[in-house]
């Protein structure tokens, strides 16, 4: 005997929402899913009409659904946004080159322009070359740092006002767990912010902050949105894997755990605004968390040199371990 949707009470329920345990039908699912993202965007006042917004797209499930939902909401609620797709090619053969094909398809499907920036172009090092040099440990550190900058540089080239990424509630909960497990207070305070920006960088936000990964996958499945899905070949030893396993086990027992962890993470967020390095008497105040500019490339950093420059220095000098490990924690 099929269960009926608790919202419309007409159609057959096809999904049990992890957030609320409600059993809902396909149509109601699409409606609440899209509406919740819209509310997240409105409540956090993420955009204003006329903004040019780059959707960071990897071809994976989150960014594919993000491209679809942003295009839908932009039209439905007249956000007045000028949307485009921005992809980063880290140079991972067999992984990234395949997923980029998906983004190229998305470009045609949603009719929004695509720009691809590559590590090779920006830094002279592809991930394949980096992994060859340093092996399978700590390579995610390089990739994450480089990718963040690559997105900013790509966005600057496109002249956008805003970047949106597909990070979902599960991702943020994993990050909170990782930061707690590693005792990284400064990151813990920053990681649940829906929007991050300083004076120099293009603001970026996470419209899926309150969206469960399970619902993103189900949305893509029901709507038949095609995406690329393989684990990055260089990631098996990533620390995040442990946090993810823990989170998934917790979700089995109590699905609201994911939202609860994000909420706990928010409670740690500092209420003091970050101040500029040159506004402060350096000898009197600790420099952790104060934002300034890299002496070499001008990118934002809380140190003298930004992390990407330090990592690149290490790679180019044949001493890639320079920036990895306790001495480099910031």
């Amino acid at each position: 005997m099929p269960k009926l949707c608790v919202l419309c009470k007409e159609k057959r329920a096809v999904l049990k929402r992890p957030k609320t345990a409600q059993q809902i039908c396909r149509t109601c699912f699409y409606a609440v899913f899209e509406l919740e993202v819209h509310i997240t965007i409105q409540d956090s006042k993420l955009f204003k009409a006329g903004d040019k917004v780059a959707i960071a797209a990897s071809g994976g499930k989150d960014s594919t659904v993000l491209a679809h939902v942003m295009t839908t909401l932009n039209e439905r609620y007249n956000y007045g946004l000028d949307l485009c797709l921005l992809s980063v090619d880290e140079g991972i053969t067999g992984y990234r080159d395949d997923s980029l094909e998906t983004v190229k398809r998305n470009e045609k499907q949603y009719k929004i322009p695509l720009k691809i920036v590559s590590y090779d172009e920006l830094y002279g090092w592809s991930m394949d070359a980096i992994v060859k040099e340093i092996g399978m440990k700590n390579n995610c550190t390089f990739c994450g740092v480089f990718r963040r900058q690559a997105l900013d540089r790509g966005a600057a080239m496109l002249g956008v006002d805003h970047i949106v990424t597909g990070h979902n509630a599960d991702d943020i909960a994993e990050t909170v767990l990782m930061n707690i497990l590693r005792g990284d207070i400064s990151r813990l305070q920053r990681c649940t912010a829906i929007r991050t920006s300083t004076d120099e960088t293009i603001p970026r936000s996470k419209p899926f902050k309150h969206t469960y990964e399970k619902e993103i996958v189900m949305y893509a499945y029901f709507k038949q949105l095609d995406y690329f899905s393989t684990e990055c070949i260089y990631s098996p030893n990533a620390y995040r894997g442990h946090a993810r396993a823990l989170l998934k086990d917790l979700e089995q027992i109590r699905p609201s755990a994911i939202m609860d962890i994000v909420h706990s993470g928010e409670a740690y967020a500092s209420r003091k605004p970050t101040r500029r390095l040159n506004e402060v008497n350096e000898s009197a105040v600790p420099t952790v968390g104060l934002i300034g500019n890299c002496e070499r490339c001008g990118y934002m950093t809380s140190q003298k040199l930004c992390k990407a420059c330090v990592l690149l220095e290490g790679l180019n000098r044949g001493l890639p371990q320079i920036a990895i490990g306790n001495s480099s924690k910031y």
């Binding site: 096809v14 999904l15 989150d62 990964e213 996958v217 499945y221 899905s229 684990e231 396993a245 998934k248």
Partner: protein, 101 residues
């Protein structure tokens, strides 16, 4: 009565099952219509169709957390999960969420 089921694998699950995204299988006599459940089917899939890395498919009696299961296009949580009784021509979809987005 013979039980025939349709299987679909996506989100990367297909890599564990010989790269086949869709497959129809006729279950052996040990699967009795009206009695056989998903609790019985999962280990059978692991032992007969899985081509590698069983630990990425199952954890204990159930699927590894992070793998979504659909029964005739509906969330298996609505159908009793492992206790769901298999009917002839049922479709089961296994979607992995354990990869980058």
């Amino acid at each position: 009565m013979v039980l025939t089921v349709k299987l679909e694998f996506s989100g990367g699950m297909e890599l564990l099952f010989n790269n086949e995204k869709k497959k129809t299988v006729v279950l052996p006599d040990t699967f009795v219509a009206g009695a056989a459940t998903l609790l019985d089917l999962l280990p059978w899939l692991r032992d007969n169709l899985l081509t590698e890395r069983a630990e990425l498919f199952m954890q204990g009696d159930s699927v590894r957390p992070g793998i979504l299961v659909l029964v005739n296009d509906a969330d298996w949580e609505l159908e009793g999960e492992l206790e769901y009784v298999i009917k002839d021509q049922d479709t089961f979809v296994f979607i992995s969420t354990l990869h980058g987005g």
